[in-house]
Amino acid sequence: MSPANQEAYSVMALDIGTVHTRALLFEIVEETYHFIAAGVAPSTTELPQNDIGIGVQIAIRDLQNLTGRILLNQQGSLIIPCQMNGEGIDRIFITYSVGRRLAIATFGLMSDVSLQSINKLASTVTGQIVESISLNDPRTIHEQIDDTLNAHPDLILFAGGTDRGASRSVKKMANLIAAILQLMPKSARPPVVYSGNLLLAKPVQETLDAFTVFSNTGNVRPNMENEEIDQAAEELAKVVTTLRYEEIDGLKQLTPLCNDSPCPSAIAIGRITRFLSKVRDPEKGVLSIDLGAASTITASAVAGELNLNVLPVGSAQGFEKFLKATPFSEISQWFPTGTNFEEAREQLWQKTLFPASLPMTVEALSVEHSAYRQLLRYIMRELAARGALAENGYETILCSGAALTQSGSPRQLLKMLLDGIQPQGISTFILDSHSILPTLGAIARTLPLLPVQVLESSAFTNLATVISTDSNLRIGSQILHAHLQTSDGKTTEVIVKQGTLAVIPLRTGESATLDLELNRGVQVESFELQDTHFKVNGGLCGLIIDARGRPIRLPKNPAIRGELLGRWDSMLAPK
């Protein structure tokens, strides 16, 4: 369908985060959709405003000021559709990541089968599992009931049984849930989402319908071998949005203006990441990391297989959880020489009290970047523990969230991302500096052409292409010889030694061919690289060869470590 047929010349997306609210404008320019600009305002979910609509209005006014376009009428209402004089917009979409962590109780038959799958489904929303019950739970029934009541769940997820599998056990579990619901005050009963044996959906609904709002998604475990989380996650997102209407003042009022129901950012990012993984190298994956204020959304996809996780750590409100879970020594290992540890610790904990605050000095910025590095390590470890990382690494790593895209110079950001993510093989780091990613996912359902065309435009920033080597050779040994030839014939030769970082200048928009001569015992990909001659794209920081090994091991001696960090820093500095 062409954009003209869809009559959507001008599209606005509102992205409501915990700290910021953004109004993003997309328009057709020369027959293709382009990202035009983003207006930003602080989110107004808390007192004294306590209504997201105020932040939305300010963000749209900011967008008006930036673009010179009239989007609001004199009464402050959006002009829909776009008028002949160019005022207004045709379509509007909402994504949101704001909202407290939902307390989720999960029920399944076997702890290592359906319960595991339903817990995986729970991890696609901003929530925390407060109670999990399976048939092999060692607690007595009354303990299970009382523990669930004490956990005060906002949402119950229930999986069980492969399609055409056991029915008695599912009914037994449904009865347990019914008993628990009956003990709760009617106004406090959580909705139940059933994602189990499809044949039993009706009897389960009959058991639970009398007590609470019941929804049915597809079976997350249709058979023992396969998990099908994606469709259930989309259905669950609708239930979560309904819960958020009660919690987030102003969200429900905005919904009638939209062309689709508000979409949780995680689901939207998952959609785009899955799409990209289908059109890119099927052997390798696409990883999206949206480091938000309260939580972090990660979407890892290989050939359309998505693994979506919302982790309860973030750069602001979610920072406290990270600090509590992380020994300070793991953060301080990244500090530059001369950092005052006590002041640094106080700075980081002060940030938990004032999440939107910004570091004002060079030292304070270094401390914050050190914490973000370790926060990324924490996230990668968590993903590894959940089996959510692609085996062969990532061809594309998309980074979103102000902490990863706006908290420093491109070089500072790259250092932080390399140390934190420690990619393997050949990866391109792309920055989503305008936080477009979730909005594209939300728009994709009704205007599929828009995300495709915007992804091909310059709305995203190519930070660098990174080649990470793996070798057991001694530090300082020569491990590869790189020969780069740009399209205009310029060549660059680089010899790379173990334990170093090498920068080969290659500007954004430029591409080149790279030949690698690897020494014996050196690998670039986890699988044998068939061809050592390939095309690479430039970026703000050029082409990077990271020969520090994986995982990066830092010396224990603080003086030697500080000296090494400084050396790596200077290796990345522009020559």
């Binding site: 008993a179 106080e346 904990w349 939107a356 570091p359």
Partner: protein
């Protein structure tokens, strides 16, 4: 441009809601005067349940078969060893209740019994007048008080007379501040650098502490104290901002309700000290939209805890010495120095309606 706001306000009309965590009975009426220790509402909270599966115990074919065997109705009170279900016949089998209690439901051949409960009561905490009844949950109390909002609290609550011991914004809490007359009081000082002072406060005992800052190293010690501690600025050693100190000095010896961030129903409140006082006519309402002329407090190093007045909002983005480009304001600090500070590092001092908690 908006930023966060902080309340260090002269006395005004203040409403605070008090809620039971569950549905219960409200014991007060609108317009009634209450003291801090008065009970507003009571509730019975079930703490233990038993689920008796008649189908499984009797080995029946399904719930239908169980229905005729269950001898009880929903709401019935069960004594010790009372029979719930019976098969009948010569060799009748019976199921007895595992404990005395009340039948909550009978569903699909399963009998759910509430076997233990506990009573909870909701104290007013604040002295004032009941302004509103929240059906089955609690009430809103209205009083007149000055509000001093905190950045951090150790999640405890107490009330007592205020003893402001700080004369300067950098005064350090010392053992001399804990003379016997301080017993039962809420002590205010600019900072505390020694964990022994926190223990000393507990042994006196004081009712609570209001501090500007405290080093992060004292966090665990502060959390373990039996009394509430509120920090107006946060972690560090820089002391208390001048606006808060002025307020505390002004209301020395007044009665204080110190809420260091306790949960109220399911709502986590922001730590605050309410200092009871008659309404101050100088009271002004300030919104959190940042404009020139507003008094602000800086909550981030290197100016943590300092106050000043916004000279102007700098248009566009301003580059900081560390390279970050941010929305910033030019602030004339109390010492008359001009500083460029990110707007997100500022709190507007004042308050915005509504003030109900």
């Amino acid at each position: 441009m908006y930023t966060s706001f902080i309340q260090f306000t002269p006395a005004t009309h203040v409403r605070r809601s008090r809620l039971l965590p569950v549905v219960g009975t409200v014991m007060v009426r609108q317009g009634q005067k209450v003291n801090a220790e008065d009970i507003l509402a009571e509730a019975t909270v079930p703490t233990h349940h038993e689920l008796v599966d008649v189908v499984r115990v009797f080995g029946l074919s399904g719930p239908k078969a169980a229905e005729s065997l269950i001898q009880r109705k929903v709401g019935e009170i069960l004594g010790e060893h009372d029979i719930i279900a019976e098969t009948g016949g010569i060799f009748s089998r019976v199921i007895r209740t595992p404990a005395p209690g009340k039948i909550i439901s009978i569903h699909d051949g399963q009998v759910l019994i509430q076997t233990e409960t506990k009573n909870i009561s909701l104290e007013a905490r604040y002295s004032g007048t009941i302004a509103e009844i929240i059906n089955n949950r609690g009430a809103v109390i209205e009083t007149t008080a000055s509000i001093i909002q905190g950045a951090w609290g150790n999640k405890k609550f107490a009330a007592g007379p205020l003893l402001c011991k700080a004369e300067t914004t950098s005064a350090v809490l010392a053992s001399a501040d804990f003379e016997i007359t301080a017993r039962g009081s809420i002590i205010a000082s600019a900072t505390c650098n020694d964990e022994k002072m926190l223990d000393l406060a507990a042994t006196l005992p004081v009712a609570g502490l209001i501090l500007g800052t405290m080093p992060f190293s004292l966090l665990e010690k502060a959390l373990s104290q039996p009394y509430p501690i509120l920090l107006t600025e946060g972690f560090g050693r820089s002391g208390m901002n001048s606006a808060a100190l002025k307020m505390l000095s002004l209301y020395n010896n007044h009665e204080v309700a110190l809420d260091a961030g306790l949960e109220n129903g399911s709502i986590q409140s922001r730590p605050e000290a309410l200092v009871y006082a008659p309404v101050d006519e100088r009271n002004i309402v300030i919104q959190s939209r940042v404009t020139a002329g507003q008094m602000v407090r800086v909550h981030t190093a290197p100016y943590l805890g300092q106050t000043g007045t916004i000279e102007k909002i700098i248009p566009g983005l301003t580059a900081l010495p560390n390279g970050l480009r941010v929305c910033a304001a030019s602030v004339i600090m109390d010492n008359k120095e001009r500083k460029i500070i990110p707007i997100f590092n500022l709190d507007v001092i004042g308050f915005a309606q509504p003030t109900s908690g």
